[in-house]
Amino acid sequence: MPKFLKIYLPPVLLVIALFAIWQIYVDVSAISSSVLPSPTKIARALVNALPEIWDNTLVTLLETLIGFTVALILGFLFAMLLDNSLLAKRAIYPLLVASQTIPLVAIAPLLIVWFGFDLLPKIIIVWLVCFFPITVGGVDGFAGVDPDAAKIFRALGASKRQIFWKLRLPTALPSLFSGIRIAITYSVAGAILGEYAGAQKGLGRLISLYARSFNRELVFAVVFVTAVFSLLLFGLVSLVQWRIMPWYYQMRQFKK
């Protein structure tokens, strides 16, 4: 079996199986569509509303990408800062954690009151969602440096900068990417939460609209679209990771 089949076939088959069970369950139990619509009904609704959904998807993706990019840059810089100064780490880390414990549903309306119905509050929420995992991934990664390797670098007279680029960063990459993968997983849902609170356009607005108009099929359809785009972004990140640190995968593969 070719390699890519080995990798992609199992989840695809599993998804198909799950959808089949779902369809059969709905057909057999004759459960109301408003409680649980069947996959075929959802698919039909999706196809019908495709232009509308696509239109809104673009907005959501835009918010996601901007928020994520900002989080990536700031998260990375923050991880560096926290790693460099024990005082900063002690002072800021608890606040970072605290920032994540704030229920987004509570601040989403505030953001709207402060920043209106445009892209900004959504971008802020995406940022808030992505920033933490990236920062934590970075900080944990930097902390995982092999002490003997650090000795070597210091003994070789490496500057702080060099230690960072040539030792800390490569060491941190796996953990940093773990954080990035978590962030990207949640990013689209973050944008949708932001839109849900109030938006002119976007998948979150569609969900809210469809949900209030008892259009359960379309709600599921949009959720499905969300999942698909999130997974695409996730795949993209995994690909980048694979390109950036092939040694990591090779080593694991060989030594198992």
Binding site: P51, A108, V113, F117, Y196, A197, S213
Partner: protein, 329 residues
Amino acid sequence: ACSDSTATPAKSGEAATKVPVETLSLALDWVPNTNHTGIYVALAKGWYAEEGIDLKILPYSEAATPESLIASGKAELGIGAAEGIVSAAAAGQSLVSIAAIIQKDTSALVTLKNSGLTSPKMLVGKKYAGFGASYEEPVINSMIKFDGGNGTFENITANVFGYEAVLNKQADFVWIFEGWDEIEAKLRGIDLNVIPITKYGVPDRYTPLIETSADVISKKSDALKRFMKATVRGYEYSITNPKDAADLLINSNPAGTFSNKELVYKSQDYLSPKYKEGATQWGSQTLKMWTDYPRFMFQAGILKDADNKPLTKELDYNKLFSNEFLPKN
């Protein structure tokens, strides 16, 4: 009053007079429905533009109520209810109703037919799926009391699906508008017991209505007048052309907003005659209506001030509403 607006002419070529364009934002209380028809009609027909009003209908927000959007200046206008205006006034926030969308209260508590819950006193101990306004609990309790029930109900704040929760038997009753939600249920073949609010001691009130703040009134009264002129035209048109108006409502919103167009037509047929039933002009309000209900609330001791203490002084009822923005005819 509108000195701060720019002098760019209205986009619509039909704008005869060179009025400066004023942007107004309107916050919805719910996803678009037939309560809002007149506004969508006026917007679609370009009547706001004619008046030099650039009306932005803000998307319905799960999170931010029209009241909070108005208070924070994010919206000038909102769809609200008398209950909301009265409790806001008690708490010190000055909201003003500038038009009654429907002259008579069409809201009601509903239960599933086969639940056998047909009057307020039977609701004691039952689950209510609310929409999250602070006035729901006192109003319903007063109905129960009026009906001779003693005790209270279980108040669940359901931000999202109160109505569906009842249909799926996760809650026992819910507060809806007959002109929309009840028709929806009927179309689905679901039978409901309807318990009208006004039948159980609660005085009639304006709900829904169009609200704004004292602050906006003092700064943009001219724009409000022009807004109301177009709005009245919109609702008048909806009264005479229900089918057309319904189509405009449907087409002004994203596909899928109305999963069942039949609902919009049926609802519009039901509401159109009611919009100004018993009034000389669409939107006009009387001091009597704005006194009876708030006084009832006050006397029942369920109005709370900003510190959540019972209000000790009656409100100035004249300040709760205004007819002065309606076109004089």
